[in-house]
């Protein structure tokens, strides 16, 4: 009778529409208030290079949330910093940056990824095998990874100096699009496709939707969790690589504010913290919206407090838009 209505799709489109609208609105408002310099190539590229590190951490948090079981990853920035620091300490011992900068850059990236895999695996094992709650496990590993970073770097930053391939990776644009931003979009697209169209992705959503039913249907909860948190670790290490490339420096306490921002990005993308739902395209749009708002406020000399206030307002507006109480109105259980 009444049961054939597309509640699910209605919600999804609303969230996507909201995020697209917000992006457009912020852009228009910024141009109107701050001037056309907001949309000149330099600023667009400048905003574009600031996005990947936040976006990758946001995707990591989103994946953890989708997997359910109170999933979250608080260790993202710690892994990012640790990757950069370990790479910055080890690679100069093997490769000379002056003689072979390209090899240096690749080895640097490789080391970062390895650290990301290891850290992600540790998170995954703690959660899937040792059965720790994700918030506690990743809080603990976050502090552990930061601790290692501090000790290994003696608490001070490590300067990389100017290494052309790395610097290009962090800043250069090809056909107007910064390389690191293009990489971010590629990664987001790959993960989005994997979530939607591969057995792994579908199983992850189902796991997050009902862990018990997933077990009865033969899914391996521990396997899925392990892969999820490892991917999150890898994404964090790529963020670390991008940070190192952008700043030419790595430090253990860089970006401590990113933990909460990543969570904000995921929640404002409509990812359900209880699991089973979330779209990567929305995570990307959420990140760009927050970045543009932030840059717009910087253009206007508006204090960062108002930026945080505006982000909060945006989140509330988003939650209002997605709030669905249609079930009782449409179905009225008979």
């Amino acid at each position: 009778m009444l049961k054939g209505l597309l509640v699910g799709n209605v919600v999804v489109d609303r969230q996507l529409n909201f995020l697209v609208s917000v992006n457009v609105l912020v852009l228009v408002a910024a141009v109107a208030i701050a001037g056309t310099s907001f949309v000149n190539v330099y600023n667009l590229q400048s905003m574009a290079v600031q996005i990947p590190e936040l976006g990758l951490l946001g995707i990591g948090v989103a994946l953890a949330m989708i997997a359910g079981n109170g999933g979250i990853d608080l260790s993202g920035i710690a892994v990012a910093n640790l990757s950069g620091i370990v790479a910055a300490l080890l690679v100069p011992m093997w490769v000379s940056a002056d003689d072979s900068p390209l090899i240096f850059a690749f080895v640097f990236g490789g080391v970062c990824l390895c650290i990301g895999i290891v850290c992600g695996l540790i998170n995954g094992l703690l959660i899937s095998r040792a059965g720790l709650t994700p918030i506690i496990a990743t809080l603990g590993t976050s502090m552990a990874y930061s601790g290692i970073s501090v000790v290994v770097s003696n608490g001070s930053g490590i300067r990389l100096g100017y290494i052309e391939p790395l610097d290009d990776f962090g800043h250069m644009a090809v056909l107007g699009v910064p390389i690191c931003f293009a990489l971010f979009i590629a990664i987001a697209a790959a993960i989005g496709v994997a979530l939607r169209f591969t057995p792994f992705g579908v199983r992850l959503y189902l796991l997050g939707s009902n862990a018990k039913a997933a077990r009865y249907a033969g899914f391996s909860q521990s396997g899925l969790q392990l892969v999820t948190y490892t991917i999150s670790g890898i994404l964090a290490s790529i963020a670390g690589l991008i940070i190192a490339a952008r700043i030419s420096s790595v430090k253990w306490d860089y970006g401590t504010s990113y933990v909460l921002i990543a969570i904000l990005i995921a929640v404002m993308a409509g990812v359900r913290p209880s699991g089973g739902y979330g779209r990567i395209v929305c995570v990307v749009l959420s990140t760009t919206a927050l970045q543009m708002l932030s840059s717009m406020f910087n253009f206007l000399d508006i204090s960062n407090f108002f930026r945080d206030f505006a982000w909060g307002l945006l989140l509330l507006a988003f939650l209002q838009i997605s709030r669905i109480d249609l079930r009782s109105r449409l179905f009225g259980k008979s």
Binding site: F18, S21, V22, L25, V26, A29, A32, I33, A34, S37, N40, Y42, N43, S46, M47, V49, Q50, G155, S156, G157, R159, H171, I243, R246, I247, S248, S249, K251, D253, Y254, G255, T256, S257, Y258, S294, S295, M296, N298, F299, L300, D301, I302, S303, N304, F305, F306, R307, D308, A310, L313, L314, A317, Q320, I321
Partner: protein
């Protein structure tokens, strides 16, 4: 959607309210001062100097902006946006100088003038302004502390963070001073980090008082440290039995200065510093030469000492410290 319209109106209103300064008169030079942490009393006072300079000087628009959290990443992003905005000059108080090397270089490459304050290890700056010689300042603290302690006993020091260059320089100079002149003074747990947070300083001080029951002297590092330390001293009932000196803001610390929990604070007026910073930035924009002994028109900055910095820029140093205790407290109302 009604919510969207409301959001748009809010954004526009907020923007217009704070855009007063952005109404550029044609040809006005923009100088933006970037501080470590928006909302900290120190930098609120500095803002008065920043505004003052803009009001008193023709052809120049000044403003101050800072991140909401003490995080090098946030400061870096702020500056990226300023570069994209195309300001004429940036005056920065870096939270973590080495982490800004890259972005400041990019600013200068784009023709933006860059000056810094409290960052004399920074390569990519045209002028770094120090209110006084940091080593001398550190030693000055120590002398005051030693005097109060009767030149013997256990003492400890605080810093904002291990990356906060000037704090570290004061603490190190202080330690060196004690080692040279006061052999009976023993330094324990040097350079405790407070992250520019009075509560963190308070908790750390409590710990230290417990750990070292015979502690006789504490030196603060960031402007809020003595507040936390003073509170801990009061609560432990050690007023008058333990010597506390540090940098601080007169109004914020007045309560503890009056009660005796804090013996004295030394500082430089951030308002004067802000004024001088903008003056120097303006001089850079106009291409004025910096000469040894020049007078910048502000008390304490009448005889600037110029020396070569670590990069291509110079370091200009004044003699602008002031000592405040309960006797002269009423002279300083900030």
């Amino acid at each position: 959607m009604a919510t969207m319209k409301k959001l748009a109106v809010c954004a526009l209103l907020l923007g217009s309210v704070f855009t007063i300064g952005t109404a550029l008169a044609a040809g006005n030079k923009t100088i933006v001062t970037v501080v470590k942490l928006a909302g900290e009393t120190w930098f609120t006072r500095m803002d008065q100097g920043v505004k003052d300079y803009g009001v008193k000087t023709a052809g120049v628009t000044t403003s101050e902006i800072g991140p909401g959290k003490a995080d090098a990443a946030q400061q870096e992003r702020l500056i990226e946006d300023l570069i994209a905005r195309g300001v004429d000059a940036i005056a920065v108080v870096p939270f973590d100088p080495p982490m800004l090397e890259g972005v400041l270089k990019r600013a200068m490459d784009r023709g933006i003038k860059v000056m810094t304050h409290e960052a004399n290890n920074l390569k990519n700056t045209q002028v770094d302004m120090e209110a006084f010689d940091n080593a001398a300042f550190g030693a000055h603290f120590n002398d005051q502390l030693a005097d109060c302690m009767g030149k013997s006993g256990t003492w400890t020091s605080f810093v904002g963070s291990l990356g906060s260059l000037t704090h570290v320089q004061w603490a190190d100079a202080s330690a060196a001073n004690a080692a040279k002149k006061y052999p009976d003074m023993k330094l324990v747990s040097a350079k405790n980090e407070s992250f520019n947070d009075a509560n963190t300083a308070y908790n750390k001080a409590k710990e230290l008082l417990k750990k070292f029951p015979d502690l006789k002297g504490i030196e603060g590092g960031s402007a809020v440290d003595v507040i936390g330390i003073g509170r801990a001293v009061e609560e432990a009932g050690l007023v008058g039995k333990i010597c506390v000196y540090g940098i601080g803001m007169p109004n914020d610390t007045s309560r503890y200065l009056k009660s005796g929990a804090v013996n004295g604070i030394s500082l430089w007026d951030p308002k004067d510093a802000g004024f001088v910073m903008n003056k120097i930035a303006h001089m850079l924009v106009d291409g004025t030469e910096f000469k040894e002994g020049m007078d910048l028109g502000v008390p304490g900055y009448n005889n600037m000492h110029v020396k070569q910095g670590p990069g291509k820029g110079i370091i200009v140093t004044g003699q602008a410290w002031i000592d405040v205790n309960k006797d002269n407290l009423d002279k300083y109302n900030f």
